[in-house]
């Protein structure tokens, strides 16, 4: 598969401060790629550079095999972009806003396409209201339709689910996933919300302070943390007794409070988990649940952030 987006050492300085620092990305065609990071990590700056809207300080990039600095129009013709906090002309209706975008893309007879997109994002009933009356969530949906008007081969979505209610988020994520699977659209999605990225992305880059600190499939990223694992034990016992029993076990290194009363999170070598469970049961503990808590990206993500905060 050829790369849809590739950057090598992409760097952007604002007033001597590196907002994006030596970014290497390689996004394959048809892939849903998540750029995960807190606000101010440099996600939007990266996207603007990919669109040729901001000049990089150093490094190189290719979007669909083209340098956005030299061929901005070609790149923008094939890349649909949903900006963070997208806005529309308040006096125009949703439909008119999309028509304007279609005209800017020299699309003749865009009416049917626009109608289809409005249905797809669930805005058909409000299509002829002024966009100024739309809620943030509706604007976000309209923004997604707007990015799709040009039938892009790459879709860049900057925080696409902010201000959308949970039900709507699921719909939007389904839509994004569907575009990638059915139409082979490459999607670059930036978000600070991990579970959403995890739900739709084939690959993820965790991006903090302009630097990618981890990159790969969500599952593989989690698997990198082999060896020590954090396991939550739930007991139907007195909490203090349960704690004492856990701490008596040699292979258990550290015990902290779990998320619910009566549960404890222990750090241990994952290989010793079966033996640990056996030992607890033979000690007479009424164990009601055992669960690895750092298997999901959430914990990794949080740990990286914690690490950043410590080093900062």
């Amino acid at each position: 598969m050829p790369s849809a987006i590739r950057t090598v050492g992409l760097t952007k300085h604002y007033d001597e401060v590196a907002v994006v620092d030596g970014l290497d990305l390689d996004i394959e065609t048809g892939e849903v790629f998540g750029l995960l990071g807190p606000n101010g990590a440099g996600k939007t700056t990266t996207i603007l550079m990919l669109l040729g809207l901001t000049e990089p300080t150093a490094g190189s990039m290719e979007v669909l095999g083209l340098d956005p600095r030299r061929h901005p129009l070609e790149v923008k013709r094939h890349v649909g972009y949903l900006p963070d906090a997208v806005g529309f002309y308040d006096d125009l209706t949703g439909r008119q806003n999309l028509k304007f975008t279609a005209r800017l893309n020299h699309i003749e007879d865009a009416d049917a396409r626009i109608e289809g997109l409005l249905v797809q994002v669930g805005l058909e009933p409000a299509a002829d209201q002024p966009a100024g009356e739309y809620s943030r969530g509706m604007k976000q949906r309209l923004g997604l339709a707007d990015a799709l008007v040009k039938e892009p081969s790459i879709l860049i979505l900057d925080e696409p689910t902010t201000a959308i209610d949970p039900e709507g988020v699921a719909e939007i994520l389904d839509l994004i996933r569907g575009l990638a699977v059915q139409k082979g659209v490459t999607v670059l999605l930036s978000s600070h919300l991990l579970n959403q990225v995890q739900a739709v992305c084939d690959r993820v880059a965790i991006f903090v302070d302009g630097v990618v600190i981890a990159q790969g499939r969500p599952h593989d990223l989690a698997a990198e943390q082999v060896g020590h694992a954090r396991v939550e034990f739930r007991f139907d016992d007195d909490a203090e007794i349960a704690l004492r029993r856990l701490e008596e076990i040699d292979t258990v290194e550290d015990v902290i409070h779990g998320r619910v009363p009566g549960s404890w999170i222990a750090t241990l070598d994952i290989g010793t988990l079966p033996a640990t469970v056996n030992r607890l049961v033979s000690d007479g503990s009424r164990l009601t649940g055992v669960r690895r808590v750092d298997e999901d990206l959430d914990a990794i993500y949080r740990r990286y952030f914690e690490g950043e905060e410590v080093s900062a």
Binding site: G59, P72, E74, V86, G87, Y89, D91, N105, K150
Partner: protein, 332 residues
């Protein structure tokens, strides 16, 4: 937009053309529709229409009163624009030079930061159009509306004039009016350019409206006062004839930095064939001068410096707005 630090990436040869540069037309068409449907356009049109009607009725009434004695006046029709009659304290051209800047400011002050505030700028710039087409489209739309409004205003005045005076304008007068409308459009475009420049540089529409309005009010109300003060510093009037003359010349020169003064001088000469100078005339120069009317070419010859200066100032405003927009980051 180029940066010497940038390391060139591998460039694939693109078989497709870079695309037509027609995007500005799409932007201009949308902006034009926005302007024409906007409340501010309708309000301005109403205010200007009523004020003009009042002024021109007074002027035409005044001209009718003097008409019997005005045997020799050939450019009677143009007097509609230049004559001062009670109760309106100034002629129509002064009225235009004072009020028309508002038009330009109205159509420029939120043209760029309005897009920013609405969050439409990143979306607009991510479409396959050049960045300069955005600002070009906005300029063209603004100037078109201004041209339409000023032409309508002049036709309105001419219509009332023909109706009230029963005099039709000669070819010469029509040509003079035509040139004057072009000058007025350039003059208003200066204010649009200034407002657009401020709109690029500031983030809030309230600020970008206040700055050009402030400049306009200062120049319109206190301009001549300031210019004479500056002239007094450069070349103090020391009581001698030569000193007085030098002082007056200095004031005249300094006042040329104000587009309002340039436009007023240009208008006076263009619309009044009897005016033969924009600046000072000494008694010797006027002595034994034959009172006669200038033809259009002669009038143009007199105001050429003012016209060129005004065009240059307008072009400079647009260029500044254009350059700062091109260099600006998408997220401010």
């Amino acid at each position: 937009m180029t940066d010497s630090n940038v390391i060139a990436g591998p460039v694939a040869k693109d078989p497709r053309p870079e695309g037509s540069r027609g995007g500005w037309r799409v932007v201009a068409a949308k902006e034009l529709a926005d302007h024409l449907y906007s409340g501010r356009f309708i309000v301005l049109l109403g205010v200007l229409g009523i004020a003009t009607a009042a002024a021109v009725f007074a002027a035409s009434g005044g001209i009718r009163d003097i008409a019997p004695d005005a045997e020799g006046i050939t450019a009677l029709f143009l007097k509609l624009f230049t004559v001062t009659v009670d109760p309106v304290p100034f002629p129509l051209i002064i009225f235009v030079s004072f009020l028309a800047p508002l038009l330009g400011i109205m159509f420029g002050f939120d043209s760029v930061n309005g897009e920013r505030a609405q969050g439409t700028l990143p979306r607009l710039l991510s479409q396959p159009i050049h960045r300069d087409e955005v600002i070009l489209g906005k300029f063209v739309a603004g100037i078109s509306v201004i041209a339409v409004m000023l032409s309508a205003l002049v036709l309105f005045v001419a219509g009332i004039g023909i109706f009230r005076l029963g005099v039709t304008p000669s070819l010469q007068e029509t040509t003079r009016l035509f040139v004057w409308v072009i000058l007025a459009v350039v003059y208003v475009a200066f204010w649009q350019g200034l407002a657009t420049l401020v709109s690029v540089r500031t983030s809030r529409a309230a600020t970008s409206a206040l700055v050009p309005v402030g400049i306009w009010l200062v120049l319109a109300l206190f301009g001549n006062f300031i210019f004479s003060a500056v002239a007094g510093v450069i070349s103090p009037a020391d009581g001698t004839d030569a000193g007085l003359l030098a002082n007056a010349r200095a004031e005249q020169a300094v006042s040329q930095i104000s587009p309002i003064n340039l436009f007023e001088q240009g208008s006076t000469v263009l619309l009044d064939p009897e005016v033969r100078a924009t600046g000072l005339l000494t008694l010797e120069q006027v002595d034994r001068a034959i009172i006669s009317e200038l033809n259009l070419a002669q009038s143009l010859g007199i105001v050429w410096p003012q016209m060129v200066l005004l065009i240059a100032m307008t072009a400079a405003m647009f260029a500044l707005a254009y350059v700062s927009f091109m260099k600006q980051e998408v997220r401010a």
